[in-house]
Amino acid sequence: MIRNFFEWVMGPMGRIAVLITALSLFSLTAFGIYQTQQPPDQPIEFTHKLHVGLGIQCLYCHPGALRGPSPGLPTQTKCWGCHQQMEKTFDPNFPELSEKLVGYIERNEPIPWVPVAQVPDFVHFTHRPHIAAGLNCENCHGDMTQVEIAENPQVLNMGWCLNCHRERAANDPEKLVKLTDCGTCHY
């Protein structure tokens, strides 16, 4: 029986079947991995590309990065501050604005954003020292002028953090000690 199977596999049909099987397995895996890397659905299809392209500074909407651990999401009054002055906001051709944004504002409901750049809860990341060290937002978050809907930067892992820490502390042993200490991030 096994022999028959082997013989079949060695034949032309078998080869095709093996090829198809391998291809489908490969593509399914690829699809699966691709699925995990998709940006999540956002309540409003907010495009960073457009806003950053208009010259709005990152820290205008995410000022917490200067001060503390979390950059924060802009309050809705901040969104509305600009958008209420724009005709486009109320243009029915832009339902993301005229329906969704206006809807949230009118209902006085918070917009349930889904942040994409996250670290696990056992990593105590603080923005302030990173900004203070002269890093720019795009060093970690990528070039947001090229990103429509926010995507996971896909780089936030420990090795990546450590590489940068090592690089930046290359000439300062004391700093290196501090920046590669487990307790700097994990507690």
């Binding site: 099987t21 699966g32 991995i33 699925q35 890397q37 503390g68 950059p71």
Partner: protein, 724 residues
């Protein structure tokens, strides 16, 4: 055939592929995406990821410690002491730390309820009402009844609600509100105040300046646990021990068991319960004799030999203590709850204060003062004594109370069962509870209109004792209310038009008015709104310098009264000593982390125990964890035994704080309540003679209950490792 195989394989592979996808997706970053909602408008002083701190007052007991609560994004995270508040100077006790477990307790009353008395607490069977209806119920209760038949029962704290209810009662012509708390019973506060009235002519709580004394004699005063103002007295103790680099204060405790306080004493002298006044008088006599000159009559009348035999104490011990008192620069003697909660309690208190007079420490550093008079205080308020409660219960029973409002107190649990509060409730037509938690009394009420938790509410609290100056500790909400609760002050103000205030805040400001612009304040504010803002910011208002009053003691030593042994009620071979659990206090049982804290002396967690001397237990064939029934004339309870090496063989002791039948999932059905054993015996000052009971015990054969102890039975008691 080959086609069949390949098709089937395809299906299988597809399944595998789908599963792989599911697994990978499940593990991938997508699975961790969460939603995050921004503020509509950023609240003032709030920054993303940074904490905001609010000053407020601890409501876990009536001491009035100042707190700073760390909040983050609208959640209270951590309680810290307010280092400016003179009561606690930045420190907190365990109960204060765990107050957040009250705030976020899963068993809180989440909205106004109408209920059938005695039914279990369950939101499905309790009918929710709206707050408008609730206010109407309260209004009807106040307005449709004869004011003399409306009664208010409040908690122990002298807070703004008490002032408001007093004013309200005054305005509508109802009897003044009654304040009660089990702590005041176990401290025998009424006795202490009565004694100071008898001796000094002022009904005020004495302030014992142990910080500056070099010898502390304490007769059962648990000032490191729950007594009066534990954080303040602990600070005093620390100063007494290490504050002066030249000397280390000496501390002697007279008590029938080693309590947490006695554990810190340099000497523990286990005298027989009921002989405290005799021992104090004997010490007085020896001291006076050593000093030379006249021995005051109180002391002279004591027969030393009789004291030695009745108090079970050696003459050398007495002489040694007397010698220390004689040599001390500033000796102080403190009367504690278990010494005063006896038939002769008032006598004991007076003897002990007289002993202080002999040590000549009135109004001197390291001596006895009177607590300062407090803002907004006309006469010296004190919580009701047990006798006053008994009278109130009689009034309830006679049907003279039609409506009873209960706030901040749980008399069904805290009062001895023999006083008959449960029966008396039956004669009250309408019981309205403002409880935060579904406690026993709330369940026996017709309505629960829950107040905010202390950390969600406004207010102030007078600090009765523990500080040198008058303090009004301030409270403000640190978080917005978690549930549909409403401030009781607001409910009462809305229900009754008798007081001219729009809301709680307006009432508070009316009380602040007299304080604006006073000299020597902790802050100076020109007008009321600034005052209110500073009051919140500082966590209260207080004077900067000491306002302690020296007792006007004229001829204290010349007074004469009989000093006798206390009488004990009931039959039985044991003296019964209930004490307030140092970790739980009277109302901590529903806070899981307090339950998890080991008792300082026995390290028992989550339960009640009976302390018994190992020798006695051995004679009675009782072992650790054997459940015994304790029977007094008033009732009986069952609890497992802890063989406690530091208790008199003729005494058994039990902590108060557990034994709830309600009060949430962490408290209900856990442990036993020693208050069930207490009979109706009062001392002359009206305090319950809670330490004056005799009990007998019965071993329940075959019943054991393992007590959860932090300590090792092997390492501490050599179980399984007998001495060789």
């Amino acid at each position: 055939m080959s086609e069949n195989i390949s098709r089937r394989d395809f299906l299988k592979l597809a399944t595998v592929g789908a599963a792989t996808t599911a697994v990978l997706t499940g593990c991938g970053p997508a699975s961790r995406y969460i939603k995050r909602e921004p503020y509509m408008e950023m609240p003032e002083y709030t920054y993303n990821g940074l904490s905001t701190y609010y000053a407020t007052t601890c409501r876990e007991c009536a001491a009035g410690c100042g707190l700073i609560v760390r909040t983050m994004q609208g959640r209270a995270i951590k309680v810290e002491g307010n280092s400016n508040n003179p009561v606690n100077l930045g420190k907190t006790c365990a109960r204060g730390q765990a107050t957040l477990h009250g705030l976020y307790n899963p068993d809180r009353v989440q909205g106004p309820l109408k209920r059938t008395r005695g039914t279990p607490f369950d939101l499905r069977t309790n009918v929710s009402v709206t707050w408008d209806e609730a206010v109407q119920v309260v209004a009807d209760a106040i307005n449709n009844n004869n004011p003399s038949e409306v009664a208010f029962l409040l908690g122990m704290a002298p807070d703004h609600l008490f002032d408001l209810v007093s004013d309200l009662a005054n305005a509508i012509g109802a009897p003044a509100p009654i304040r009660y708390g089990a702590l005041s019973m176990f401290e025998a506060r009424a006795t202490l105040i009565k004694a100071s009235e008898n001796l000094f002519g002022t009904a005020a709580l004495p302030f014992f300046d142990i910080a500056n004394s070099d010898l502390v004699l304490s007769f059962g005063a648990n000032f490191l646990e729950t007594w009066l103002s534990p954080v303040a007295y602990t600070r005093g103790f620390a100063k007494m021990r290490r504050g002066n680099p030249k000397r280390r204060g000496h501390f002697i405790q007279f008590e029938s068991r080693i309590s947490q306080t006695a554990a810190k004493a340099d000497e523990w002298i286990p005298i027989r319960p009921g002989t405290e006044s005799l021992v104090a008088a004997a010490i007085g006599r020896l001291v006076a004799e050593a000093k030379g000159g006249a021995v005051s009559e109180v002391f002279a009348n004591v027969d030393l030999n009789e004291v030695l035999s009745s108090a079970d104490i050696k003459l050398e011990t007495l002489e040694h203590v007397a010698e220390m008192v004689g040599e001390a620069e500033s000796a102080i003697v403190i009367p504690g709850g278990s010494a005063l909660g006896l038939s002769n309690g008032l006598q004991t208190a007076e003897t002990i204060l007289t002993l202080n007079a002999l040590a000549d420490n009135f109004g001197k550093p390291g001596g006895v003062y009177l607590s300062p008079f407090l803002p907004n205080q006309d006469t010296y308020h004190r919580p009701a004594s047990a006798q006053e409660m008994a009278e109130f219960i009689e009034k309830m029973k006679s049907g003279d109370v039609k409506v009873l409002f209960v706030h901040g107190v749980n008399p069904l649990f805290e009062l001895p069962e023999s006083l008959g509060f449960a029966d008396a409730l039956g004669s009250v037509q309408e019981v309205i509870s403002f409880a935060v938690f579904p406690d026993e009394t709330a369940l026996a009420s017709d309505y629960i209109f829950p107040d905010h938790h202390g950390l969600e509410s406004w207010g102030y609290q007078r600090v009765a004792t523990g500080t040198e100056q008058s303090v009004l500790s301030g409270a403000q909400p640190v978080v917005s209310p978690n549930y549909d609760t409403r401030a009781t002050a607001d409910v009462l103000l809305a229900a009754s038009q008798a007081l001219p205030f729009k809301d709680e805040m307006e009432f508070l400001q009316s009380k602040f008015a007299s304080l604006v612009g006073q000299a020597d304040d902790s802050f100076s504010a020109p007008e009321i709104n600034t005052f209110t803002a500073y009051f919140q910011q500082h966590g209260g208002w207080w004077k900067k310098s000491s306002e302690l009053v020296s007792p006007s003691a004229t001829d204290t030593l010349g007074r004469n009264f009989a000093v006798e042994q206390a009488e004990f009620a009931g039959e039985g071979e044991f003296f019964f000593l209930p004490f307030v659990s140092p970790t739980l206090g009277e109302a901590g049982a529903n806070k899981p982390w307090l339950q998890e804290l080991p008792d300082p002396t026995t390290t028992v967690m989550w339960n009640t125990w009976v302390e018994m001397n190992p020798e006695t237990a051995h004679e009675l064939h009782i072992e650790n964890d054997d459940v015994v029934k304790i029977i007094s004339e008033a009732g009986e309870v069952e609890a497992p035994v802890y063989l406690y090496p530091a208790i008199r063989p003729d005494t058994i002791a039990m902590p108060f704080g557990q034994g709830h039948t309600a009060y949430g999932r962490y408290a209900a059905g856990r442990g036993a309540n020693p208050a069930k054993l207490l009979g109706q015996h009062f001392n002359e000052a009206g305090d319950l003679a809670f330490a004056g009971m005799r009990v007998r015990i019965e071993k329940i054969e075959g019943k054991k209950q393992m007590l959860s102890r932090l300590e090792s039975r092997i390492g501490v008691y050599n179980e399984g490792l007998e001495e060789h």
